[in-house]
């Protein structure tokens, strides 16, 4: 059930690499743990993310969590649909619920992330 083509961080973010760009989001496990997501503080386009540093906040009805960048890079797009429909992160975390797309500044960082198997073990699935 974990997409095989993604890389994962221990903080439950995923990365989909496409050329020099990468799309990032949070995993289904993270979305389920948070419960009904009600708000996402998105980064600004043009902002620079550093790997494992916080770049935003996600809120559910009864919890709040920082978002940690799984890779470094410049934000080239954010998912504006989440502003009105944050529930997309619950209903389709690996697809419509994506958060931001970045231009990867150090592809070498990707090697330090987990594959689906290792992440699956981490969350005990």
């Amino acid at each position: 059930m974990l997409p095989e083509d993604l890389r994962y961080s221990k903080e439950h973010e995923w990365v989909r690499v496409d050329g020099d760009q990468a799309t990032i989001g949070i995993t289904k496990f993270a979305a389920d743990e948070l419960g009904d997501i009600v708000f996402v503080e998105l980064p600004e386009v043009g902002a620079t993310l550093s790997q494992f540093a916080t770049f935003g906040v996600v809120e559910s009805v009864k919890a709040v969590s920082d978002l940690y960048a799984p890779v470094s890079g410049e934000v080239v797009a954010v998912n504006d649909a989440l502003r009105d429909s944050p529930e997309l992160m619950n209903s389709d975390p690996f697809g419509e619920g994506w958060i931001a797309r970045v231009r990867v500044s150090d592809p070498g960082e990707l090697g330090g992330l987990l594959d689906a198997g290792a992440y699956g073990e981490l969350i005990g699935s």
Binding site: V38, F39, E59, S60, K62, A63, V64
Partner: protein
């Protein structure tokens, strides 16, 4: 002991169930080294005794027979129906509405409160309440700092001295610098905040300008221009207002205010030596996530029934802990209910009458003192329902009148050394012509 129902038999049964020999055993975990060595409280009192004791103390207060004292707390009519509403124990003895299914009364009344405060202030969102007007203003200043990511605020010296003091205390926490904008208090001055003086301290490092409408001296500030000056540098305008004045004065939201705060006491809350009152706060919807305090929102249950819940709670301390917008938890809910009932009871017409009667009797007071040659207005600007009057030997005469049960307003020199011999006088709809006459007469006698 009066309120614990347990009989000896109850005690025995509970101790037996727990499996301990005595109540002492339940306190064995307190280290002997730190057990209380004394507890020298007075003997218990029966109801008739405690009524007597409290009546004795209450009688030590000499409630003035005539009072022109306002300065942020006003003697207005508290309609009997408002007392009846807040006296209902279903409201008074409920906790914070954490279980919405059995708290719809509290929740809906807060939603109505938020709606009324938005309507009165011309703002988009109002919080469920703050401790008082001053702490609301202080929280607003901190909120402006979060919104603008700046750490300096400016405040007019014509803001209530106690409000300024509380803002200074709150700002000392995170180390926010407070710059004071001197009001025009010169001889023949307006008593207002000069727009140029505000503009001269407003830089792109200042998060907000805090101004009061009507200001501490009752004067009508140029709020729209002050807002413009603040906005010119990307700062917010925090408008600290008096709620009954909003029946006649422009809604601060229409004059560019970004955050509005107020002391809600005039809305049906007794003076009660300073509390409990209720702090009001309203803001723009775009700022809601930085807003401190509880918010109630409307939603539905599975059967389509409309209901109300505490919402956007991720701003609050019980979820966000050290990253919360504020540490506020308990607020002033029952006082907010009083304000809700009050505004509903007086309606738009009644609130206007309160404002206009208060204005009329304040003007009556000023004119009567001027005509008797006892006082003259200290400032030139138009005022709402409070007026600063120059009265020779103000402090002495204020004390002499107090001894006769007449409080001739507030001695401004206490907070403004440059305003010697100046009294701040407020009248309300409860002020009678006879009371004004007795003030004039008593001042005459101390000439």
């Amino acid at each position: 002991m009066a309120y614990t129902p347990h009989t000896d038999a109850d005690h025995a049964r509970m101790l037996g169930a727990i499996g301990v020999a005595s109540i002492e055993d339940l306190f064995a975990d307190i280290p002997p080294a730190v057990r209380a060595t004394r507890f020298a409280l007075p003997a218990p009192m029966a109801e008739q005794e405690v009524r007597g004791e409290l009546s004795r103390i209450a009688a030590r207060n000499a409630v003035p027979r005539v009072s022109f004292l306002g300065a942020g707390a006003y003697r207005h009519l508290v309609p009997a129906v408002v007392e009846e509403v807040i006296g209902r124990s279903e409201f008074a003895t409920a906790y914070t509405p954490y279980q919405p299914e059995v708290s719809q009364g509290t929740l809906q009344s807060i939603y109505e409160f938020q709606s009324l405060i938005c309507e009165l202030t011309g703002m988009e969102v109002a919080s469920a309440s703050h401790y008082d007007g001053a702490t609301a203003a202080a929280e607003a200043a901190l909120m402006a700092c979060r919104l603008t990511r700046r750490d300096r605020i400016a405040i007019s010296s014509a803001v209530h001295p106690q409000v300024r003091a509380v803002i200074r205390t709150y700002c000392s926490g995170p180390g926010i610098e407070v710059i004071e904008v001197p009001a025009d208090l010169a001889e023949g001055g307006s008593g207002l905040t000069p727009v140029e003086a505000a503009a001269s301290v407003l830089t792109d490092e200042v998060a907000c300008l805090v101004a009061q409408q009507p200001n501490f001296f009752g004067g009508i500030e140029p709020m729209a221009e002050l807002a413009e000056a603040a906005h010119a540098v990307g700062a917010q305008l925090v408008a600290h207002v008096e709620p009954t004045s909003l029946a006649v004065l422009a809604a601060p939201g229409d004059h560019g205010a970004d955050i509005v705060t107020a002391e809600g006491q005039p809305l049906g809350i007794p003076l009660s030596y300073g509390g409990p009152y209720v702090g009001l706060m309203a803001a723009r919807m775009a700022s809601v996530r930085q807003m401190p305090g509880r918010l109630v929102g409307a939603t539905r249950d599975a059967q389509g029934r409309r209901g109300y819940v505490l919402t956007l709670q991720a701003r609050e301390q019980h979820i966000r802990r050290e990253k919360a917008a504020s540490n506020i938890c308990t607020n002033q809910a029952l006082c907010a209910l009083a304000a809700t009932a009050y505004l509903s009871a007086v309606g738009p017409q009644g609130l206007r009458e309160v404002a206009e009667l208060s204005m009329a009797q304040t003007r009556h007071t000023a004119t009567a003192l001027e005509e008797a040659g006892l006082a003259e207005r200290r400032f030139g600007a138009p005022y709402f329902a409070e007026v600063a009057m120059r009265v020779p030997h103000a402090a002495r005469r204020h004390a002499e009148l107090a001894a006769q049960g007449i409080v001739a307003g507030y001695v401004l020199e206490r907070d403004y050394p440059e305003l010697g011999d100046t009294l701040l006088l407020a009248a309300t709809e409860l002020t009678s012509d006879e009371e004004i006459a007795s003030l004039v007469e008593a001042l005459e006698a101390t000439r």
